[in-house]
């Protein structure tokens, strides 16, 4: 048994995630392939979005996969880091936006 929950070699198991639910797995991969391929947005743009989401969702597998994908597509280090900052700032914004609830409650409750 492994000593860690996340193992980098498990990324290679991703194509097998349909195991035990084959039909759902096939539909997922069809959707995943379509959604991440070039369309109105380029493969490059979609890979940067995926890279940012990988970070905001704290997924080490996705970070590994999409960092390599971005490198393969010739995306520069500064472009990748800017994408991560978009994700980080969204996370910060989402937290701060929820403070609206806090501020409203404070204003209602305090004398």
């Amino acid at each position: 048994m492994s000593n860690t929950y996340y193992e980098s070699k498990d990324l290679k198991d991703f194509p097998q995630i349909g195991e035990f639910a084959t039909k759902e797995g096939e539909k997922f991969f069809e959707y995943y392939g379509q959604a991440t391929s070039a369309g109105a947005l380029s493969e490059r743009e979609k890979s940067l979005i995926a890279l940012a989401v990988s970070h905001t969702e704290n997924c080490p597998y996705c970070i590994d996969a999409y960092t390599n994908k971005c490198l393969s597509l010739g995306i520069s280090n500064d472009e990748m880091m800017e994408a991560v900052h978009v994700g980080a700032s969204m996370k910060a914004g989402v937290v701060l936006a929820h403070a609206t609830q806090m501020r409203k409650i404070i204003k209602k409750k305090e004398m």
Binding site: K9, K12, A38, S42, E43, R44, N68, K69, L71, S72, L73, G74, S76
Partner: protein, 334 residues
Amino acid sequence: MKPQDQLQVLRNVEEIDHFADRLESVGKSPLRATGIDILQINVGKQCNMSCKHCHVEAGPSRTESMSKEVFEKCLAIIKERSEISTIDITGGAPEMNPHLPWFIKEVAPLHRRLIVRTNLIILLDPQYSHFVDLYADNSVEIVASLPDYKKDKTDRQRGTESFENSLAALSLLNKRGYGHPGSNLILNFVHNPVGAFLSGSQSALEFEYKKVFKDQHGILFNNLFCLNNCPIGRYLDFLIKTDNLNDYLSDLANAFNPAAANNVMCRSTLSVGWDGKLYDCDFNQMLELTINHGTPSHIDQFDLEKINNREIIIHNHCYSCTAGSGSSCQGSLD
């Protein structure tokens, strides 16, 4: 590292099936030649550069260079075999072979596709700058090494100022008529990843290259060929030193595409070494894996029938040509 040591390293990579077993598992073994469409001639290992990824391990200190006698034997085969549509000249820096101008002038009237793979920068050297006119006058198709459209990455792989010098050479070629839409003077670039990762899609990268070179540098070119780095030579040294060997070979093996195996370049190519030895491809040449299985392996014993039906020599480095959409000296295989 000696070729036999490189093969030993490749044989012992953990967590991947041997390429021969993988081919067997998808019913593609043995891999056989289909004929000679491309005659690839490596005219020597001398080069004015010493790029970090070079599978030839070429450089200024190398002395291997094709003699006129071997060139003449290549020429005789080209004249005799009309099915050879493409003559693909590579090195080292091909321009440093003193017999290349003569050979180009002999082959050009035969109206085949004649390619020279150049590092560009040598064209700025006054000793070799006449090649720009020689190439243009003989309609030589130029395939230029340009690993990235960004200066820092290109310089990291090829040396300081290599990007700026490449731009200067490309400007000369554009002025001579190369790379313009509608021109018969073809200028193609080769991209290979600057690091331990696979090449991305050729169409996506070509779009970026064209945008950057035209808009930022005023440079025109025809097509981009994307190649995965083959884990041999200096690139293998890099993979070992940076502890990337297992991951890189795993990435290649996981991206194995049986359809790409059908179309690998070695099936329709014969590769000639500087000393007249015959190989299935330029990578096998650097690993000293001559054609085999009963087929004579020197141009002096050229046996077309056996060559056309030969079994290709394979090893784990072959994964670099079957990954994803496939990789060849002519770019991706899709």
